[in-house]
Amino acid sequence: MSSLLTSPPLPPTARDRTRRARLRRVDLRANRFLIALTWVGAIAVVVVMAAVAFQIIQGASQAINRFGPLFAFHSTWVPSLNKLGGLSFLFGSLITSLVALVFATALGVSIGLFLALLAPRAVANVLGPLVEMLAAIPSVVMGLIGIIIISPFSAHTLEPVFHAVLGWTGLFGAPPQNGSSLFTASLVLTIMVLPIISSLTRDIFRTVPIELRDGAEALGATRWEMIRGIVLPTTVSGITGACVLGFARAMGEAIAVTQVVGNASLIHANLFLPGTTIASAIANQFESPQNNLTLSGLYYLALVLLVIGVLTNLLSRRVVAHGARLA
């Protein structure tokens, strides 16, 4: 060691210098190469997203020219007469997603609260991943379960109860024997959206500083008063963002909904009758449309779905960012 310190450094030989220069050149090239590669990845993502929008708009152009912007507000869908309107699909998508959102928000926020604030750590560590497992069930399996298990359960057990209690709202008419209905689709969507909302809200609730929770409890507040007075107000924007994401997910689900919704392009307030959604209309008709105009009409529906998806995504980003600024 001491010899190293005392002897002056040797001047670099010519060979050393060329080797170092070569190394630097290699480094420089490798650096550029890696940067270029990652640019490719990033550009691919941007290009794909732009191409999706472009291709869908292009496919829909014929229908856009023909039906104009009010397409989404006409209810007739008769391909043989070239009369196309997207209202029944939009209605079905919105109503099933909204009903699912109501159920999933009530359940999911409660679960998030339980996992983040009420459950002992050991319980939360087991139950949290279990709830997330619900999201791993493939949608086609959810559809199968929907047809064989949830439909009959809904038709024979849930629907009579809802009809008896909430029948006066007009939303819950007399239950038909066939379980394929908007309501069944909503139930299936609820199960699919639930893990998203509960795990997101759990993570959001965990961000509330322990000092605030202690501060509330030290003032003689009960658990619920602490949650209602401190936790919920500070996390309301994050919860909203989570719900919007859940809604977007429900709007876009095609397979499981198609299997249980009944696929009837009807508009009616009664949730116990069959209906259809944008995504399931595309799934059912896209491959064998009756004519080119219908294909274009289906692209138009896809465009509506895309726009709703983009808007909800932007909204949830905005809401969450707003909440982050306040906190």
């Binding site: 990033a42 691919a44 993502v45 339980f114 279990l130 008063e225 876009g252 998806g309």
Partner: protein, 296 residues
């Protein structure tokens, strides 16, 4: 203003309105507990039904036999298993490469001004309804060249890439900034730091992301609906043709409605679900162990 504080002589039992407030609080906590219990019950019921209904259909001939030649006939799911494996592999390779590169771009190379639109696009792609990935690839590829395994794999990769990218992003962000600083303080060039310090540091996270994305992709139906649905009943390995696959096979089996077909659908659903859930659990354990080993 009167003092409502109870006299110190009063026992520490609830005073004033506290008894009522405690009842409210307990009732609401009870609701939260039952919501959680309900979710767990739903999971167990769904998994339980699938196991009970599916396990009976399993047999060697079911696993290896060709798909039913005509609707309602008996048959197996062998070709669909092979096809799904092939699709998941192809889509996995595409999405891991693109996803990891995008995540590296966002954490290691991009300036904030460039990163934010890329991040926005990544979010939008993650939120893209999966059926639209199918529509897009149909218009781009299938309408010109017909259905093929490659088209289906690209559609699946569109769904999986944002998942890989986001999870990779998270684990890259968990690599301590000090590691990067230490490496560059030693005069190590940027690319070497990324390849030898940053990526290995996030390795377990990236592996988990890849596994989870493949598991998710293997179960996706909507992207395959227009890209790989017209397949024969035998084994097909050539990715230039439509590949038989489990999700669509389940979908068509159910649509036929024959009891025998539905029972086959349960068998296939059980296989698919069991594989995906087990892979999920395994990946979580792997992630936790990997992170613990590195002390993160």
């Amino acid at each position: 203003m009167s003092a409502i504080t109870p006299d110190p002589a009063h026992a520490l039992t609830p005073s004033g309105n506290l008894a009522r407030r405690l009842r409210v609080s307990l009732a609401i906590q009870g609701l939260a507990v039952s919501a959680a219990a309900l979710a767990a019950a739903i999971l167990f019921i769904l998994v339980g039904f699938t196991v009970v209904k599916g396990i009976g259909a399993l047999s060697w001939s079911f696993l290896t036999g060709n798909l039913p030649a005509a609707t309602g006939q008996a048959g197996g799911i062998g070709p669909a298993l092979v096809g799904t494996a092939e699709l998941a592999l192809m889509a996995g390779i595409i999405s891991v490469i693109l996803g990891v590169l995008t995540a590296l771009f966002l954490t290691e190379f991009a300036s904030p001004r460039v990163a934010s639109p890329v991040r926005l696009m990544l979010d939008l792609l993650a939120g893209l309804p999966t059926i639209l990935a199918g529509v897009f690839i149909y218009g781009l590829v299938v309408s010109r060249f017909g259905q093929s395994g490659i088209a289906a794999a690209i559609a699946l990769a569109m769904v999986m890439t944002p998942l890989v990218a986001r999870a990779t992003l998270e684990s890259l962000q968990r690599v301590p900034e000090t590691w990067r600083d230490a490496a560059s303080a030693l005069g190590v060039s940027h690319w070497r730091t990324v390849l030898t310090v940053v990526l290995p540091g996030a390795a377990s996270g990236i592996t988990t992301a890849a596994i989870l994305a493949v598991a998710r992709g293997a179960g996706e139906t909507a992207p395959l609906l227009f890209t790989s649905s017209l397949y024969g009943n035998g084994v097909q390995l050539n990715p230039m043709h439509a590949l038989p696959n489990i999700p669509l096979e389940i979908y068509t089996l159910i649509e036929t409605g024959y009891p025998q077909s539905v029972s086959m659908a349960w068998g296939a659903a059980f296989l698919l679900m069991a594989t995906i859930l087990l892979v999920n659990i395994g990946a979580r354990i792997l992630l936790r162990r990997g992170e613990r080993k590195r002390g993160l």
